[in-house]
């Protein structure tokens, strides 16, 4: 039996003040470290087969420690489905690798295949994750179709190519909108109104503008330096002594700048999406700050390097703790009225394949 939702779908989303529920994340780095390392050791001992169970345990730990209004999330994936997905992923990846090495002339065929398979994998993985996530014993669901996703990727992909990449933010924005609005909690659809578009696109263009400006300044600076240094670059003459240092400094500056860009765009776009998203009587508030993310990513990176990887679980807990601490759910009604949807089972985890090929549109 399916009980209708008492909220009447996304239309009822109230903009007024409501009860604020901060997202709580109560995982401890020490406990997660033990889970992580023991499961890693078991994965090795079982030659990788256990990795599916390890994934489910790690995810259940994270979901179980994420709470809203005192109730935690549940991850219900069946490890066997994940194992199947992983076996398919390994086989496909091996084939991909073999062809790219032994027949690189046919690599275009592989990329063409990936272009058409990518959207399918994305849709399947979103569906698998949604179906296997529950809160208050009500499952999430994803109803996006392969056809829609493929259309977006081809259309906006073409736009990105003909605009030399300037269309990329629009591709991403459209995919995020597709992903968000195809989700529902029980029978209640998520809604992402038009208002998110502008704040989502703006950070990309800020970055493009700053990059151009910085490029001009750098070129001017180096031109000035070489003039002052007395134009040493005569053909065939000795390379000036400062050249290698300058090149290394240039590479470091480039990566540092890339790093800042990634953190800035991530903070702003995540906020843009979550501050406009709603589901039934629930709205969200996301207050990620670029400078916090820069510090978070940088310190995680340093910690992981210095501990030869042992700080990985600590870094993961820390990242999630930050994210939770900056996210709030605002409820204009109780959280009791969401209705369970008729379940449509999603079997093999497309996510495993998507993971291998690094395909992701999650936010």
């Amino acid at each position: 039996m399916v009980v209708p939702s008492t909220y009447g779908g996304a239309a009822a989303n109230a903009a007024g003040p409501g009860k604020r529920h901060p997202v709580e994340f109560s995982a401890s780095a020490g406990e997660y470290f033990r889970i992580w390392i023991v499961n890693l050791a078991l994965t090795i001992v079982t030659l990788g087969i256990y990795s599916a169970w390890a994934k489910v345990r790690k995810r259940r730990y994270f979901y179980g420690h994420t709470r809203i209004d005192g109730e935690s999330f549940e991850y219900r994936a069946n490890p066997i489905a994940i194992l199947k997905g992983r076996l398919i992923a390994v086989a496909l990846f091996a084939a991909f690798y073999a062809i790219s090495h032994f027949a690189p002339l046919y690599i275009w065929a592989l990329y063409l295949l990936l272009l058409f398979a990518g959207p399918w994998l994305v849709v399947r993985s979103l569906a698998f994750n949604a179906y296997n996530t529950a809160y208050r014993n009500v499952r999430f669901a994803f109803s996006g179709t392969y056809r829609t996703c493929l259309g977006l990727v081809l259309g906006y992909g073409l736009l990105t190519v003909v605009t030399f990449g300037l269309g990329f933010p629009f591709l991403r924005r459209r995919l995020i909108q597709f992903a968000a609005e195809s989700h529902s909690y029980g029978t209640t659809r998520f809604a992402l109104p038009e208002g998110f578009k502008k704040p989502f696109i703006r950070p990309y263009f800020v970055v493009i503008g700053v990059s151009i400006l910085l490029g001009v300044v750098l070129v001017a600076f180096f031109a000035a330096v070489s003039v002052i240094a007395g134009a040493p670059a005569k053909a065939g003459a000795d390379k000036p002594g400062w050249m290698p240092t300058a090149i290394i400094a240039g590479v470091v500056v480039f990566y540092a700048f890339l790093f800042l860009q990634v953190a800035y765009i991530r903070a702003r776009t995540v906020n843009a999406v979550w501050n406009h998203l709603s589901v039934g009587p629930l709205r969200f508030e996301s207050a990620l700050r670029a400078r916090d993310l820069i510090w978070l990513y940088f310190s995680n990176f340093v910690a992981v390097v210095l501990t030869v990887g042992l700080a990985t679980p600590w870094a993961a807990v820390r990242a999630m703790r930050y994210r939770a601490s900056k996210t709030t759910v605002i409820a204009s009604d109780t959280l009791d009225g969401f209705a369970q949807a008729e379940a449509q089972r999603v079997s093999v985890a497309g996510e495993e394949v998507a993971d291998f090929f690094d395909i992701d549109i999650a936010l």
Partner: protein, 338 residues
Amino acid sequence: MIEFEAAYYDGRTSARKPVRVRGYTLAIQIVGEGLRLDVPLAKVHVDPPVGGTRRALHLPDGAQLQTDDHAAVEALFPRAHLLEGWVHRLERHWLYALAAIALVAAFTWWSVVDGLPLAAKVAAGFVPVTWEEKLGEQTLGFFEGKLCRPSALDAARQQALQRRFARLTAGLTDGYAYRLLPRDCRAVGANAFALPGGAVVITDALVKLAQSDDQISAVLAHEIGHVRHRHGLRMALQAAGLAALAAALFGDATSITSLATTLPVALLQSGYSRELEAEADDYAFQRLTEIGLSPKAFAEIILLLEKDHKSRSGGESKDYFSTHPATAKRIQRALSAP
């Protein structure tokens, strides 16, 4: 009798109902406001425990109980999830965590030092020689015309080189179609390289650099060693294995953190190629002796190449990052070869 507090969800809505659960030998009784339910224990499915997270008891018809009373759940379902229950106990103690660290470290060390090279060697054995030839042809196609032009050496000189090469490959029954391709590749200077499948390229600059033809034979023997031991293929397989290992170990770190594994992976790869160079050297020493030449010629040409390289790059050669083993070591090995 076991008694505990729980939240009840009927599975139709997200409404939460606080209940009191009483557990008996064969059934549980759920009592809450307007609710009184008896469920046989056999119909209750309990999730395996993970850390200190809340326990969920799945009831028939999609209903669910959630509780933080771990002791009560354990007492009610002592034999559920034997395997994951055991894993859960391992996860709770630092001692087991330390043992796991030792195991992971030992495995990683072994894989990098012995496991991956061995696995690549075994896997390479399954790749047909025709595939390797394809791989070689495609690499050659990339060189020809762009990096290299046909050799500018006169025909007599080229024929002498071909005769030397034929002598080196005579009687090798390993299925490879060996052929020598003298080329004029200005960009790479004095150099020689082996392509998978049997093609060996030698540059005009190297031919001119050599003081004797025995020295050229020494270089060619080294390149034949690369072909015979399928080094091009093994390198590719090892690189893939290394990437897979890094992803498996640290895959769930955030993507920026995973950048941290790039540098160590690159360093390890140059370590691997140094090992393969040593293997090709060994083959060269053996082959030279077999056809009546002295491995000393190898030492001589290595020394010449080193000098040439230094004068071209105008600096010290850097042993730590170079893909070839330290020159002094190679010369010493050549001189002490039987």
